[in-house]
């Protein structure tokens, strides 16, 4: 039997046994869809993580977060001890630091005319433009004297321009942040969403001094970023900054830090561990789904052999060799799994595209993932067909026709 005959005969046979074919295809579809989905999304997330790390840290920097330990969640003991003076002293003590910026954050309601929005208000210094590499697309960034005089000037993100101003030019307009009036002097560059899915364009940046005194009434900051001259010096600089801060806070040996230092290397390592869940364990789980689908296919194919004993006998009588019979059942199993796999790729890709759009992951579909999915479906189908096929091939024609 040649290949095109085998193909045609198998496809016809699939059509004649629709319930069985559908069941096998369904298993394959779910497995391949899950695999396609997690591989595509995993790749998208990995790219997003690298991009975000780059956005936060640039080429070389150290980020100081107030409070010790817990990076992800949980309480941060002594979170309210980090001050601007601490960072200034550390920056002065470490020659590799070329620039630094303190930051305090507050969630506030923002009003303008009849429109209200809830936004994240960042208090930063005039150096934030350089240190965080985020500037304005329109208007001006506030300057050192604005920070010194605690001026009520604000830079707004594009989301707020849309929500508060309906897209109209906001420059020079007055907005109310909680109960404090601010004048809009600039519009922040677009940023998009960050790793947590937070819209970084729904932000207002004001001088850190204004935020601390007029909005939050605190003496401390939550985060600071220090730019390091040379990436090679990053680790040394981080150690020096840590020592400087510990001595400022008069921490004894053996006492834990009451702040957390983040360097790009550490963050990449940490995120790499989380990433492994997405890029290793989830795909593994979907491979297991595919294996289960393969087992179901093998069972159904074994049932098909039992139900079609007479057909096997007839085929042998009219000239099928044992190898032809074996090939027929392997091909039926493989084509069914492959068919389900094709549909699974469509479904998984559609789902991945949908989720990627919501998480702002960019383009996530990959031909390589699709091919992996198809190859696994095909291999599973071939393997699932082997045992039933060999049993079918071993049937003696006289017994099969009895």
């Amino acid at each position: 039997m040649n290949a095109s005959h085998l193909l045609r005969d198998s496809l016809r046979s699939l059509g004649r046994h629709r319930l069985r074919s559908t069941s096998i295809m369904l298993g394959s579809l779910v497995g391949v869809a899950a695999l396609t989905f997690v591989l595509d999304i995993g790749q998208g997330i990995r790219r997003k993580i690298l991009l975000t790390v780059q956005q936060i840290f640039g080429d070389s920097s150290v980020v100081v977060v107030a409070g010790g330990m817990q990076l992800v969640d949980g309480p941060r003991p002594d979170a309210a001890r980090l001050t601007i003076d601490d960072i200034a002293a550390a920056a002065a003590a470490v020659p590799a630091v070329v620039a630094w910026d303190p930051q305090q954050v507050q969630i506030a309601s923002v009003r303008r005319a009849g429109n209200t929005a809830t936004a994240r208000v960042l208090g930063q210094s005039e150096r934030a433009e350089k240190v965080w590499a985020r500037t304005v697309s329109r208007g001006r960034f506030f300057d050192a004297s604005d920070v010194q005089r605690r001026e009520r000037v604000a830079l707004v993100g594009e989301t707020l321009v849309r929500d508060l101003f309906g897209g109209a030019d906001p420059l020079g307009a007055e907005i109310m942040v909680d109960a404090v009036p601010f004048t809009v002097v600039g519009v922040l560059e677009r940023f998009g969403t960050d790793l947590h899915g937070m819209d970084r364009d729904n932000e207002i940046v004001v001088p850190v001094s204004t935020l601390m005194r007029r909005l939050a009434n605190v003496d401390t900051i939550s985060v600071a970023k220090l730019l390091i001259a040379d990436p090679a010096q990053n680790a040394t600089a981080a150690a020096q900054i840590r020592e400087a801060l510990r001595s400022r806070h008069a921490l004894l040996q053996g006492q834990p830090d009451d702040f957390t230092l983040l360097t790009p290397t550490e963050v990449r390592q940490l995120l790499g561990k989380m990433q492994r869940i997405v890029t290793l364990y989830l795909p593994l789980a979907s491979v297991v789904v595919l294996l289960v689908a393969g087992l179901i296919a093998a069972t159904l194919m074994a049932g098909a052999v039992n139900a079609r004993v007479a057909e096997i006998g007839v085929r042998r009588a009219i000239g099928a060799r044992p190898a032809d019979i074996a090939r027929q059942f392997v091909a039926e199993s493989a084509f069914t799994m492959l068919g389900g796999g094709l549909l699974g790729i469509l479904l998984g890709s559609a789902a991945a595209q949908l989720v990627a759009r919501r998480l702002d992951l960019g383009a996530v579909l990959s031909l390589r993932v699709a091919l992996i999915g198809l190859a696994l479906a095909l291999i599973t189908g071939l393997l699932a067909g082997v045992v039933p096929a060999l049993r079918a091939a071993r049937l003696r024609p006289v017994d099969a026709l009895r």
């Binding site: 005959h5 007839v314 009219i318 000239g319 060799r321």
Partner: protein, 235 residues
């Protein structure tokens, strides 16, 4: 065409005496014959048929088809032999239930080495009078029509020998007669036919009747050709 020499078939069972289904059968069947093999159930006639069809292997003896020792071929070569030289017709038709008449008839072409001539399936169905039923499923056909489809399937590769095992066993008398007429017509066109039956009326249509009893040839008689011819004239 067929030479059988001292064919034996013995079934050994672990906890009982062996059964000699065939205990030394020797036969010659020439090309163009129409032979009925009769016998009671358990006489060994079906075993003999299966060995002639290479669906079963003899325990001892020699089986030559056109001077070729077919019992000694390997399974793949036997399959090719059945595909090219034999056509099978079964009591239970054994059609693929969800395939059309044409698909059923074309099934043997799947296993043919050379590309089969176009339209072979259609022509075979026309030859059995079912040109208007090409795309019907077996369930949409009468028993007689289903057996015609099976005969068309047996004929599609133009085999020299047609083997039929109780071909009318599942049919009403009217359909049975039609099928037997068809066999006679095929035989007149030169096709060798070997038919197994326990029914004397069916055997009466053959020109030679071999009776098997207890695994041996009990009688082998060639009918009066003139009588057969006369019967045909009377119709």
């Amino acid at each position: 065409m067929i030479e059988l020499e001292d064919i034996e078939k013995t079934y050994t069972r672990p906890d009982a005496a062996p059964v000699h289904a065939l205990a030394g059968v020797s036969l010659r069947i020439a090309g163009g014959e129409f032979v009925a093999i009769i016998g009671t159930s358990g006489s060994g006639k079906s075993t003999l048929m299966n060995i002639v069809g290479t669906l079963d292997q003899p325990t001892a003896g020699r089986y030559r088809f056109e001077r070729t020792d077919v019992a000694g071929l390997d399974v793949a070569a036997q399959a090719r032999f059945r595909n090219r030289h034999l056509g099978f017709v079964f009591q239970a038709f054994h059609l693929l239930p969800r395939a059309s008449a044409l698909e059923n008839v074309e099934l043997p072409l799947l296993y043919t080495r050379d590309e089969p001539p176009a339209g072979a399936g259609r022509r075979a169905l026309e030859a059995v009078g079912l040109a208007d039923r090409l795309h019907h499923k077996p369930t949409e056909l009468s028993g007689g029509q289903q057996q015609r489809v099976a005969i068309a399937r047996a004929l599609v590769n133009e085999p020299e020998l047609l083997l039929a095992d109780e071909p009318t066993g599942n049919l009403d008398p009217g359909s049975a007669d039609d099928i037997l007429d068809l066999f006679e017509a095929l035989n007149r066109d030169g096709r060798t036919i070997v038919l197994v039956t326990h029914d004397q009326r069916v055997a009466a249509r053959a020109r030679r009747v071999i009776r098997i009893d207890a695994g041996r040839v009990a009688s082998d008689e060639v009918r009066d050709v003139a009588r057969t011819a006369g019967r045909e004239e009377n119709r």
